[in-house]
């Protein structure tokens, strides 16, 4: 609030933190503006919570992060949820939701195992590509039903949640995939590290970076926000709403498909419970990370940090002396806290806006 913040002082100089909300152009320098944006962002606050959890857990138990396995697990465990949360965030940004991701993941996890059993020499890349593709097709089904059927995504993806898992379980019958069925190199994919960073994490981060970059810098990405912000206006505006919705669901499906393959690599077995209930965790990660459930705002970076936070809290609770049974309760409280906080901030902003109109 000091005058040193101001580059071009004006007579009625009254620069406040609410500066960004004023109608007239801001008087802050670009760097300062960028800095305030970051400081006020949801991503930063949730990141700080993550840091706090890690620091607390590490002071109680050094190995939480300062041990080979601790460090690796810290990075590795959230990777799969991170992929799902990224896809989910993109769908939620368009004011939809994809509840079928857990089932898609189960289906491709089993597919991975089946492929290796049927064709032991199949290259790993082909398997990953197949899973991406199958996931994309399943996502496309959701997308077509939502975009062309004009029916709510919640119902459609609830239906496909049942259908996809039913297909997986029927297909699998009573066989399950064991580590022994999978080639060693594939299993190593789930555990190998490059420069101290697990390969799976690198893959997840690469996906995150690409999607995040696309959403921020590509026309298509911005249109997703526009669609979520006001679907009717998007139609009036002439945006390719249906195509973009399809793309969002295909992306979510494809990432869930990839997550399925990586799940198999990481855990080595595929049982009937793969990904059961993980869809709600993915939604939770996005919501905690600041993606508004009614679309139009939020970033995949936030969703990714949300995924990290959820998984890390789960790991940290025992270190903090809390039985891990309470993990879900903590997650629930976090989600509620996140949305209530959003609402409180939004109300404060609305009040500021109203007042700024009176003074203008």
């Amino acid at each position: 609030m000091s005058n040193t913040d101001i580059e071009r002082p004006r007579p009625e100089a009254e620069v406040s933190a609410g500066e960004a909300l004023l109608v007239e152009p801001s008087r802050l320098s670009p760097t300062r503006r960028a800095l305030t944006t970051v400081l006020r962002s949801r991503e930063l606050s949730i990141f700080l919570v993550l840091v706090a959890v890690v620091v607390l857990a590490t002071t109680k138990n050094n190995g939480f992060i300062f041990s080979n396995d601790g460090w690796r697990n810290f990075l590795l465990n959230p990777s799969i949820l991170l992929l799902l949360a990224v896809g989910q965030a993109v769908v939620i940004i368009t004011r939809n939701v994809d509840l079928s991701v857990g089932s898609v993941m189960a289906l491709t996890a089993y597919l991975t195992g089946r492929l290796f059993i049927e064709m032991p020499d199949i290259p790993i890349v082909v398997v990953l590509a197949a899973c991406l593709l199958v996931g994309a097709v399943l996502g496309l089904v959701n997308g077509v039903l939502v975009a062309y059927g004009g029916v709510p995504a919640l119902v459609i993806t609830l239906g496909t949640l049942y259908i996809y898992r039913g297909i997986m379980l029927t297909w699998a019958g009573s066989d399950r995939i064991n580590a022994g069925d999978l080639p060693r190199e594939f299993l190593q994919l789930g555990t190998r590290s490059v420069l101290g960073i697990p390969l799976l994490t690198i893959m997840a981060l690469v996906v995150l970076a690409i999607v995040g970059y696309y959403l921020y810098t590509a026309r298509g990405g911005r249109e997703l926000y526009a669609i979520g912000s006001d679907p009717d206006a998007a139609v009036l505006y002439g945006l390719p709403v249906r195509r973009r919705l399809l793309a969002a669901f295909v992306l979510s499906g494809a990432l869930a498909g990839l997550a399925g393959a990586l799940y198999t690599a990481r855990y080595g077995t595929v049982s009937s419970s793969v990904g059961l209930g993980i869809e709600l965790q993915a939604v939770a990660a996005a919501v905690i990370g600041g993606v508004a459930i009614f679309g139009g705002s939020g970033t995949v970076w936030g969703a990714a940090i949300g995924a990290f936070l959820l998984v890390t809290i789960n790991r940290a609770l025992p270190s903090l002396g809390i039985e891990d049974f309470w993990q879900r309760a903590v997650v629930g409280a976090l989600i509620l806290g996140a949305i209530v906080l959003d609402r409180v901030l939004a109300r404060r902003q609305a009040r500021k806006l109203a007042e700024s109109r009176d003074h203008s």
Binding site: A172, S174, R176, N178, Y267, S271, S272, S273, V274
Partner: protein, 325 residues
């Protein structure tokens, strides 16, 4: 093998659907569990041998309420016998009562209900036997001293809990184990990923851990997979109850030295023979009754309606190649 006992088929049963031959339902804790896949395979062979009809049904996740619906269905169908591994000792009793009043003979195997509820329990091994076997193995592997932990199935799994109680008692009483300390018991719910994560948590929270006992096939496989590529491989011993096919890789790569199990296929088969004997009226489930169980030989019903399969068998690098289940 003894021939199928065709004309005994409808005696004592309300007459199922098939004309004459016995019809039975196999209800494991959950489907897609390799251990139960093996026991069902054994049961099917025994059923073929008996000329009986056997069908496997079951829930996707191991919960008692899901099993109740299947028990109800068996009652509706008026099957001759139900062979069941119970997810809860109490919760199933009402449904089982109902099935028994519809003239269904109920044999539990692997995990028992309260003895009043069922006709017979086919026990894989005595709880004492299983508990002391596992302690013996872990003690051997960690050199008789250090911290150990248990990775179990669900916290209310009857058989696991019985074994854990026995182990605790023996650890306290047996001077051979005076230097072994049980520091934690965690539950993986027979869920693969959860067991995997629980293993990680154990290692993280107990840096001095020397050994893990996992008395459940899902748990030991998940723990072995975690250990096999963690830095604790070779430093933390792992034993418990597992199937050879699931564990082969880890025994061969040195993560696991040895583990124990009975033959689940034999267990399934014995349960089936017992169920058939009950349904045919050959036995009533009283202590001292005895029946033929095909290649397995003759078995006698002990106190509380328990039939014992035998002692658990130890698998290690030398013998694991001889088994395929």
């Amino acid at each position: 093998a003894c021939g199928s006992d065709d004309d005994g088929g409808d005696s004592g049963s309300s007459g199922g659907d098939g004309g004459g031959s016995l019809s039975m339902t196999m209800l494991p804790k959950n489907l897609g569990n390799p251990y139960f896949d093996t026991s069902t395979a054994g049961a099917k062979e025994a059923a073929d041998d008996l000329g009986a009809e056997l069908e496997e049904v079951g829930p996707e996740t191991a919960s008692p309420d899901a099993q109740v619906s299947y028990i109800n269905t068996v009652a509706q169908q008026g099957k001759d016998a139900l062979i069941l591994s119970a997810n809860d000792p109490e919760a199933l009793c009402d449904a089982i009562d109902e099935a028994r009043s519809a003239d269904v003979k109920v044999v539990t195997f692997d995990a028992d209900t309260n003895p009043e509820c069922r006709d017979l329990f086919v026990n894989q091994a005595t709880a004492e036997g299983i508990a002391s076997k596992q302690l013996e193995l872990i003690s051997e592997q960690i050199g008789g001293e250090g911290e150990i932990a248990i990775l179990s199935a669900a916290a209310n799994a009857t058989n696991q809990n019985a074994w854990i109680d026995m182990m605790e008692k023996e650890l306290a009483d047996n001077p051979d184990y005076a230097d072994i300390e049980l520091v934690d018991t965690v539950y993986g719910d027979d869920d693969d990923q959860k067991s995997f994560d629980q293993t990680e948590a154990l290692l993280q929270n107990h840096p001095d851990l020397k050994g893990i006992i996992s008395p459940t096939t899902v748990g030991i496989a998940a723990a072995a997979r975690y250990l096999s590529d963690s830095s604790s491989k070779g430093k933390v011993a792992l034993t418990g109850l597992g199937t050879p096919n699931q564990m082969r890789e880890y025994v061969e790569n040195g993560t696991v030295e040895s583990f124990a199990l009975w033959n689940p296929s034999d267990l399934g088969a014995l349960a089936t023979y017992a169920a058939a004997a009950l349904a045919n009226g050959d036995i009533s489930g009283e202590e001292g009754d005895s029946f033929e169980a095909g290649d397995l030989g003759e078995f006698t019903v002990d106190a509380d309606g328990v039939v014992l399969l035998g002692e658990p068998f130890t698998f290690n690098a030398d013998n694991i190649g001889d088994f395929d289940f």
